[in-house]
Amino acid sequence: MEFKDYYKILGVERDATQDDIKKAYRQLARKFHPDINKEAGAEAKFKEIGEAYEALGDPEKRAAYDQLGKDWKGGQEFRPPPNWDAGFEYSGKPGGADFSDFFSSIFGSARAERAGRTGRAHTTFHMRGEDHHATIVIDLHDALNGATRTITLRMPELDDDGHVLVRDKNLTVQIPKGVTEGQSIRLKGQGSPGMGDAPAGDLYLEIRFKPDSLYRVDGKNLYLDLPVAPWEAALGASVKMPTPLGPIMIKVPPGSANGRELRVRGRGIPASPPGDLYAVLKIVWPPATDEKARKIYEEMAKELAFDPRAGLGV
């Protein structure tokens, strides 16, 4: 098992005050909260911060942790010395069910207290199971066509003796066609089991998209950068562009400026009603590297009365 340097995780010195520790925790928690920070790895980081604070935020636990000595380095192979924690008693709440093995090895796991609590539940007690909430990251393609994806969730479960165990649960999910970023889908009965005769809770998955190489997504609408030559933008043209349903020809109106958005109705995400696809014009200039191109640029410079800085007042 790896040693965890909780001081380093919170970015504080070993002699930090409890207030410093609380402040550091709050700052990091705001920054890495998975509902705020959508970068990959934010959730794991948030859990690590929570575990570090669970250990250091409580003076009793912190004293026990400090007892291990300051020579340990994060990631180092760790085995707790026998009876090392004799004399410490934790009056606080049990830790979260999915803290690391390292945390459980020095502070004990949440088992004992939870087992006691569920043990009191009478068999005739009926209560609907808890709903679970998680996030699923899919390709834009999956939303456009619908898809089957297998996800792994870490779920606390009760074993036969009433102990809380964290198990990896694999679920194969049919993702409906037309879901959008930020929308949630519901898997009926996939939350916690109910007590007595009551039904299980539901599992809600919030949809997030992986960045796509072609399209940007805003709700149901898609945006595509469409490169055009200056003469196509100036004179108008019919150009070929990709859409999720296959390539189409699109008319670029004469006199189009850079950044002009052209709407292709109904070619966005196939929700009901479907979103639109916007082509955002990006005017691309041919390089003046050969003689022929340079000649044309020189001619334009000479023949056209064009001042791109007319609006700057200089």
Binding site: H33, T172, V173, S184, D218
Partner: protein, 119 residues
């Protein structure tokens, strides 16, 4: 329950159809009704119906309430703060969506931790 050909569990997109009363929503989410009323007063969740006894909540409310609960539990934010955070996150999502997502600097997972003062 499962699709026989693929073994996959069908998922339904959740909508704004009314499904829960105030009591049912509170029980389903394991929170006090008074806290739900506060969320409604701040516009974080929006029930159908005019009076409290007529209120009916959608599954979208379930999801938003769960998120609000996480903000309160993890960051100690009150309903007014949660409403503001949700609005700002919405705005950031919209702005990010319009930017070019292929920018490697913006997407690098290590970026934020290398420059902690920039955020």
């Amino acid at each position: 329950m499962t699709d026989e050909t693929t073994g996959a569990i069908p998922a339904e997109t959740i909508g704004t159809d009314p499904v829960y009363s105030l009591d049912e929503l509170s029980t389903a989410c394991g929170v006090e009704t008074a806290w739900v009323v506060e969320l409604v007063e701040h516009g974080i969740i929006e029930p159908h119906g005019r009076s409290v006894s007529e209120w009916r909540f959608s599954r979208l409310s379930v999801v938003r309430l769960a998120k609000a609960k996480r903000f309160e539990r993890d960051l100690g934010i009150n309903p007014a703060g949660i409403a503001l955070v949700l609005d700002l996150l919405n705005e950031i999502d919209r702005l990010k969506a319009r930017l070019n997502v292929k920018d490697p600097r913006a997407m690098s997972p290590g970026h934020a931790s290398e420059h902690p003062d920039l955020s």
